[in-house]
Amino acid sequence: MKGARILIESLKREKVDTLFCYNGGSVITIFDELMTHGGSIKQIQPRHEQGGTHAADGYARSTGKPGVVLVTSGPGATNTITGIATAYMDSVPMVIFTGQVSTGMIGTDAFQEADTVGITMPITKANFLVKNVEDLAPTIKKAFHLATTGRPGPVVVDIPKDVQADETEFEYPETADLPGYKPKNVGHPKQIKTLKKMLNECAKPLVLSGGGVISSGSTHLVNRFCDNYGVPVVNTLMGHGVAPENDDLYYGPIGMHGSLYGNYALQECDLLIVLGSRFSDRIMGDPLKFAEQARVVHVDIDAAEIGKNIEVSLPLVGPVKMVLEELIREKSFGDFSGWVEELKEYKDGHPMEYPAEKTLQPQYLIQLARKYFPDDTIVATDVGQNQMWVAQYFRFHHERQFLTSGGLGTMGFGLPAAIGAAVGNPDTQVLAVSGDGGFQMNMQEMATVKRYGLKVKMLILDNSYLGMVRQWQQLLFEKRYSGTQMNDNPDFCMVAQAMGIKSRKLIKLEDAEEAMKALAESEDSMLLHAVITGEENVLPMVPAGKPLDNVIRKM
């Protein structure tokens, strides 16, 4: 069997149903085989490989299945780099197949040659150059195994053109031959016992739920743990979706733009149980003053995350899921009702709010979106103010509902990620929220929305600025708005129209409800271009590197 066909048959064995792919000279053989032997594998072809990679990422984040990409060599591969780095920073399972020039041409600076393995080394969990067709199926097995187990991440498989054409017998291995790779599948029993003891000794416990909770499918267990023992919970940006039945236990997102009450809970707790989070600088502020009064327990599947950014009292390497399952076997821990009462009182006194004006404010639009879109809507965002307003004002109740580039902070992520989510979740509403800057970074993908008839709803919060950077300039550079003004934006509705997508422009506050309702209820994809207040800020804000109780509430 030809290498190209082996790839396709291997994808079928891995139960891949969707391939985000873009043709080119070095993958032409694979596309040819796809036409005849692709079977039920759905092909989604973006208008740019970056868009395709973000789409595969959005597919993976929203479904939990690995996102699979196929692109050509050279520029095809380099165009995926931002997408791969985005997925790597947020631990998203992906397998990226790249074409390569023939083995005999490697190293000669051939046409469309790039050292894909070299370039992707620091942004992949693993990467492979397949030099013999006999190695192809075993390498694909390894790639899927690595991408989806342990701490998930993107894996690149680089396949030279001659390997695609060479023939060998197809045999898909049952297991991946990886002698050095042994992700932990249980937590250390002694450490879990210590954690139980700590829970019995503490008065003010708090759970910090991170992205690892989502990727391991443990949100329901966090909810159950909190409900069972009356332990309050906060989440990181990547951990959105945790929601105990008892709403009095939920204290929102924390960090730089977290809620006042969430950050208060962090600074006041005496036991902090961190589940699947890597203590990003945007979460910690000042690492020396982070949760100062607390003993910190860090549960993570990746041993290298423990002790990397912060020293912890109790390291617990293992899957979040197993640790939680172990914990919820206990009948009871202490009585934490006084602590919850304290938090509730603080929350009532310091709600997440903004001074309402008689203008079109973005926070209000997000609240409207929450009102008119169904509860299970998947929201993909870009990066910057739009992302933070969604995180603050769109309350999520399910995991895999909020798709955002947390670690790399990639502008242009929203629309293509929404496309991937729409492909993977055809019966769920998908909303892409972008700023005017980020939307223009991948707006060509509206053509992909149109091509596949995807019901993606787009909301542009247009303040004609790169808003978050402008906010920093207001705060730190005396309003010298250098390089952040976007007052020559194109007419987004006309761009949408050119792509065959229904659109509407929203300028007046009094039209907002009706426009948002129309966006939510539209049977087709639709773009709502909202012209918002120019200099609105994301507040509260903890300046970079400052302790979490050093909050700016007004600017």
Binding site: L146, P179, A304
Partner: protein
């Protein structure tokens, strides 16, 4: 061990890796990417032909080096990562030194080579080539006897090291 976790000291990391293409560059680029400098690195085959042993010397504090070890473990081709504690190490390095030593001016140098239990590997009218084997300090110490003008060339292997056997009753 570890009274001052932030003091910068040399650490010996011994690494067993699968002999796959690119593994060396994955390891060195990871160490660089995480902000550390490699003082020396050696690589060679082991008793198992699929595996290579790397001995890497990095300067760092205890916490930083622990972080590197954990990151090295995440490279898929890594089979085992160990640090070799200074009190338990046996180490060797070979230094080849080309010394400018015209005929008639060699006696003192030959005596020195003798003291260091070195070997003369080559000799010509302008000078000699000396091999010094021992720990790094020994090679350093030998070199310190010469002025820069006296030394034409130096090639050092870098350290290979391993843990000592457990001592009875230790």
């Amino acid at each position: 061990m570890g009274e001052d976790k932030t003091a910068l000291t040399d650490h010996i990391i011994s690494l067993l890796v699968l002999n796959h293409p690119g593994v060396l560059s994955k390891i060195t680029s990871l160490i660089t990417r995480r902000g550390f400098n490699i003082d020396s690195i050696t690589a060679g085959p082991t008793k198992d032909k699929d595996k290579f042993r790397l001995t890497i010397i990095v300067k760092g504090d205890d916490r930083g080096v622990e972080q590197i070890q954990k990151q090295l473990y995440k490279i898929v081709d890594t089979v085992k990562v160990m640090t070799i504690h200074p009190s338990r190490k046996v180490e060797r390095e070979i230094g080849l030194i080309k010394v400018n030593a015209p005929m008639g001016q060699r006696n003192e140098i030959l005596q020195l080579v003798n003291v260091f239990k070195g070997q003369i590997l080559d000799s010509g009218p302008k000078g000699i080539v000396v091999e010094i084997t021992g720990n790094s300090e020994k090679v350093d110490s030998f070199l310190s006897h010469f002025t820069p003008q006296q030394i034409a060339e130096v090639a050092r292997t870098g350290i290979v090291a391993m843990d000592r056997w457990e001592k009875n009753g230790a």
